[in-house]
Structure formats: structure tokens, C-alpha cells
């Protein structure tokens, strides 16, 4: 029944207002893939973080650009690709600060990428600055 690969795509304007639509979309994908409630929420959070980063950092909070979320369900996994045409960045230069030091510095952020890496099984960036930046994230389906 699930041998066939199924692909889905959502395009929304780059406003944080649309993060809820992105979560609903990704949540439905997770349900289709048979993920438990807890796993569905993890998928939603990871994609929410990725898209919030695109809106804030790649597009500098310009709400008139486009965020694309592509989802593929196959027999092994759900793959989500978040695509933007904004600034881009070099993910290898981003350090991981510990929570206690972020708190001491009164930071209100710096946890998004760690959350994505923890919640998903595979994560990688393909960056072509100003042209197309893609964050591919995979979450495996459990075999039971």
C-alpha cells in the first residue's frame, strides 16, 4: 500500500503568520505516514524551525517572498525539503551554544538548528546564496 512514493508541496508567503499552515500541512503528512502523535509534533516543530529561520534570516523578515515546503513519503521515511531564494548562509560556521550560556547572555534564540538536528534523523543543507537554498530533513518510519 505504501510502496509508491508520494510527493506533496506547499508554497506560502514568507510571513510568520503562515507557520501555522505549514505545521498543518506537515502534520497531515506525518499522519499519512503513520507517525504517532508525539512524532507528528516533532516533525511539525522541526519544519516550523526551518521555515521560521528562512523567514527571519534568509529573507530578513521580508513578508513578500515565498517559502516552499516539499514532502515525500516513501516506504522508509518522510523527507521534507524547505526551499528559499534568500540570502543563504554557511551552516558549518554556526556554533552550538549551551542553553545555560545562552540564558546568561539573555539570548532569546540560538536553539532552532539544534532542535531540527535532534528531532530529525538526517539533516543537510544545499546552499546556493541568492538563488536557491534547500534544507533537506528526513524522519524514518518505524518498521513494526
Amino acid at each position: 500500500m505504501d510502496s509508491l512514493e508520494r510527493t506533496f508541496q506547499l508554497h506560502v508567503p514568507s510571513s510568520t503568520e503562515n507557520l501555522s499552515m505549514i505545521r498543518d500541512f506537515v502534520g497531515s503528512i506525518g499522519e499519512r505516514a503513520g507517525f504517532s502523535k508525539g512524532e507528528v509534533v516533532k516533525l511539525e516543530v522541526a519544519v516550523d524551525e526551518a521555515c521560521a529561520n528562512v523567514i527571519e534570516h534568509a529573507y530578513g523578515s521580508d513578508t513578500t517572498r515565498e517559502v516552499t515546503v516539499k514532502a515525500t513519503i516513501d516506504s522508509d521515511a518522510v523527507e521534507i525539503r524547505v526551499v528559499d531564494t534568500g540570502l543563504g548562509f554557511d551552516p558549518t560556521t554556526i556554533g552550538e551554544a549551551a542553553l545555560d550560556s545562552l540564558i546568561q547572555q539573555r539570548k532569546n534564540g540560538g536553539l532552532g538548528m539544534r532542535l531540527i538536528k535532534t528531532l530529525m534523523d538526517e539533516v543537510h543543507y544545499e546552499i546556493v546564496p541568492g538563488q536557491k537554498n534547500e534544507l533537506a530533513m528526513t524522519k524514518r518510519r518505524k518498521k513494526e
Binding site: 510568520t16 501555522s20 502523535k37 545562552l102
Partner: protein, 122 residues
Amino acid sequence: MTNSFTVECARQGDISVLAVNGFLDAHTAPRFEKSIQEEVDAGRMRLIVDCAGLTYISSAGLGVFMSFVEDLRDKGGDIKICGLADEVYQVFDILGFPALFDIVPDRQAAIDKFCEPDGKEI
């Protein structure tokens, strides 16, 4: 609606209880930040955030807790967190919040925490 978010604030003695409801993400976090800022501006340093109605949180929501807690503690206050649903708690947990924040089951337990001498400090 899956993007609704509300905060209601009730003051009990020197403790302010902020009851949050709905979805706390990059879109709604500024509203949460504003509510906490209002308490801080009013000189109120003992805050309980009651998350019983909270359906969802992302790092933008967690960032609000992070950015205020140190100043509150410096002034003898704190943020206690209560009422987390399992799905919401897992996000706090993954990022290590339970080691640095008092996270308790309900509002009464949070009030009791403020009466203990040994609040968590970094």
C-alpha cells in the same frame, strides 16, 4: 484556528500567573514577550507561566523564557513553568530546560516552589 494564541495574567499577592493558550511560535512569541515585559515593568519578579492550555511551542516561544529568567533571578524572582502537556514538554526536555527551570505539574506546585528557599540558579 491553529494559529491562535492568548495570554491571561492574574496577580496573586506578589506572584503573577500568566496562563497561555494555543500556539506559541515565531508569530505569537512577541505577544508573550510583551505580557512578561509588562509584569517586569510593574516590578513584579515572581512569575508562573501556566501552560495547561498550551497546544504547541517552538524555539521562538522558549526564547522568551530564556531571555527574561536571568534578570528576574538577579532581582530575587524567577519564572516557574507548570501544566505542560506531554507533546509540549518533550520540546522543553530536548533542549535541556528541566535542568535550568522549575517545571512542575500545576499552579499550586508552582506557588509552593516560590516558598522554598532553594530556587534553581545558574
